[in-house]
Amino acid sequence: MKYRVWFGEVEDGEVRLSDDLVKSFMRVGNDVSGKELPFNVFDLGVKVFGSPERYYSELRKTAIEVARLKAEKELKREDRYAIMLLKALDEIDESINLLENKLADVREVKESEVTEEMEEEIRRMKTLRRRIEGEIEAVMEKVAPNLSSILGGVIAARLLEKVGSLQRLASLPASTIQILGAEKSLYKAMARMRKGKPAKIPKHGVIFQHPFIRTLPKNKRGKMARFMAAKLAIAARIDHFTGELNDELVLEVRRKYEELVRG
């Protein structure tokens, strides 16, 4: 059995030292499924490097270099990844819908082996859909923990999708965030107003999907949307600049909701 360690490979207790520590450090995973390795990396490493001091000094140097490389790569990509996944989710929803309609049409005429296959296909697509959704939740919790804690990963990703990146979202005022996704009705309203006609400015876009807004009586939704958007603007900035979760934000949003439900 061969094992990978950060400084090389181990087979039958023999160490093959890597000639590129950064590289070997980067692909160090072992498929040991929850079991410990049959040796302690440190003990082997000390033999290889000569002393604990040398071992730790090499380990630290390599770890920091790898950490920088990986972090830089992730920072560039992760919000894009969430956005692309969301687009895929929308596509798959549309496909499922379409196929379901077709299936119903076909079935009305005749049951057959083919209708069963279509059904099977739909089931497969739904499984994939769940996988994608789960991945969006997981990625968003990393990239934007505060936005996700307030909105849930999928709606939070939808906000990102509307503006293209977390950086962009973090630069927007609350009033804009509040109506992201309602641009069409906003433009319509503005066009009407330019012509001197009465018009309603939309109160919420994407965030309307959130139960805290949707489940409120109509006359309170605007208030909730404004409050939530203010918290989301703060959340987006924290997510962009430090990426650390602040539990208070989601609590404040919940409190506001409960207050509006009651009063």
């Binding site: 995973g29 040991v32 929850g34 410990e36 302690n40 972090a71 990239v143």
Partner: protein
């Protein structure tokens, strides 16, 4: 302000762990670690001490609650959920002759952890997912202490998996449990009971209690 004035600010101090002190400051008592290094997260420095802020660090909140784990200066530590290194920075003051493998999976706070690792000698930063310990099995050695603060639904399972793979025989574990992460609808005491039950099936639960400054959290100290 003169240097004299500065030293006068600090009153009596009491050592509670290696490099960890309770210091009287006016009316209040503050927790601090003795440190050669500067401020990392906006905490104050008093001479050779760095204030350890309990609202920012659950480990500090636990110590201030009066519970002690005798963390030794030469301990090797696996820290899961290191974020930007707030608690790690103080732990690094304590295990000054040991090492901390600091695992965090979110790149943004992690960049600040890298800075900390560059400043100190005893921190190995790992941008990894704690729920996939096999990914860092060729890096992390057997450790004396596993600390976990990740606020995840399956945080107990993740903790136990890491214990199985990396904790020395007779080693210690400390997990900070957030009720709302595990189950957002159940009452916290109910959640905690479930957690303790799950833990005691696999490790010895030594103590557990709530934490001030961190609502609906408990710490659980275990022996592997």
């Amino acid at each position: 302000m003169s240097a004299k004035k500065k030293t006068q600010e600090i009153g009596k101090s009491q050592k509670i762990l290696h490099n960890v002190y309770l210091i009287e400051k006016g009316e209040k008592q503050i927790l601090a670690t003795k440190s050669r290094y500067g401020s990392h997260y906006g905490e104050k420095k008093f001479g050779e001490f760095r204030e350890w802020i309990p609202s920012r660090s659950k480990l500090a909140a636990m110590l201030l609650r009066g519970y002690r784990i005798d963390i030794r200066p030469d301990w090797k530590v696996l820290y899961l959920g290191a974020a930007s290194g707030t608690t790690v920075s103080h732990l690094a003051d304590i295990v000054e002759k040991g090492v901390i493998y600091a695992v965090e999976y979110s790149a943004k706070p992690f960049t600040k952890l890298i800075e900390l690792a560059e400043e100190r000698r005893n921190i190995i930063p790992l941008l990894e997912d704690a729920s996939k310990p096999q990914r860092y099995s060729g890096i992390v050695e057997k450790v004396d202490f596993i600390y976990q603060d990740i606020a995840q639904k399956n945080q107990v399972e993740i903790f136990l998996d890491n214990i199985r793979m990396f904790l020395k025989k007779g080693g210690e574990g400390l997990i900070m449990v957030k009720a709302r992460s595990i189950d957002s609808t159940a009452e916290p005491p109910e959640v905690f009971e479930g957690v303790l039950k799950k833990l005691s099936r696999r490790v010895k639960v030594v103590a557990s209690d709530t934490l001030e400054y961190h609502r609906d959290h408990i710490f659980v100290h275990v022996w592997g």
